[in-house]
């Protein structure tokens, strides 16, 4: 049995992370040969994954958290200096 379109979309995403092999790959390729919509999806899911790399929403730390960790860092550094003395 060949994969359905929905199964093919899942496998195409999987294929980004590790190459599908063997009979499973053969069946997927066969489906793609016959299905232009899934060929399109293949291209688009790869593009989407690459896009994520470029738009990753980056959240910023609050000033108070920044101040707290910096304070911790200072303390740890001083402790280790005192030990060495």
């Amino acid at each position: 049995m060949l994969p359905t379109c929905k199964q093919a979309t899942e496998q195409l995403s999987e294929n980004i992370d590790h190459n599908i092999r063997g009979f499973k790959l053969f069946k997927l390729k066969l489906h793609l040969m016959m299905c232009r919509l899934c060929r399109r999806y293949d291209k688009q899911i790869n593009l989407s994954a690459q896009t994520i790399n470029l738009v990753e929403p980056s959240i910023k730390p609050s000033d108070s958290l920044k101040a707290k960790v910096l304070h911790d860092y200072r303390g740890i550094h001083q402790d280790s200096q005192n030990k060495h003395k």
């Binding site: 359905t4 379109c5 929905k6 199964q7 979309t9 899942e10 995403s13 999987e14 980004i16 992370d17 590790h18 299905c35 919509l37 899934c38 399109r40 999806y41 688009q44 899911i45 593009l47 989407s48 994954a49 690459q50 896009t51 994520i52 790399n53 470029l54 738009v55 990753e56 929403p57 980056s58 959240i59 910023k60 730390p61 609050s62 958290l65 920044k66 707290k68 960790v69 910096l70 911790d72 860092y73 200072r74 740890i76 550094h77 280790s80 200096q81």
Partner: protein, 200 residues
Amino acid sequence: MSQSEKELLSRLIVGDEIVFEQLFTQYYSLMFSVAQSIAGQAIADEVIQEAWISAMKALPKFEGRSSFKSWIMRIVANEAKTRRRKESRTVSLESIQDNWASDPRFNEKSHWVEPSSNWNGDTPEELLEAQELKDCIAKNMQRLPDNQKAALKMRDANGFSMDEICNILEVTPSNLRVLLHRGRDQVLQVIDHFQKTGEC
């Protein structure tokens, strides 16, 4: 570990606060996603603070077998797991099957009824020429379930290996595949909608 990373870390050990701030800011977003997905948003910042304390104490013993980035992500994940137990918070990994079964883009035989359109643009850069789309994708990514968001950020935006992500987020490889597929598919649908309508 790269030479430049070694250099940064040696400055961190001698107490260089500028380097510390730089690394803290650089990794905050990813650390937040990891902490949030494991222990919940409410205590994510506390988890991150604790993680940096543990990391800075352990830093002189860091041997560089992995990159600093994956090392620090493991630490924040461990911290988050400890806190989750302490606060006995039950994190519901939202059920993998939720409404996936009734995706309106497919018919009852799981073949396409509403396929995506042909897109203008063959590269991510071409697609993202419209700043509006960029903002729209970022906004929609923020709305993804926490574990999908963390998986996507680690995998597609930061190049973590599948094994590393499974360890950090405590998910099985097959669950991770589902999380990644869902997240990417969501982004694909956002782009497709924008291509069709010019709107977010």
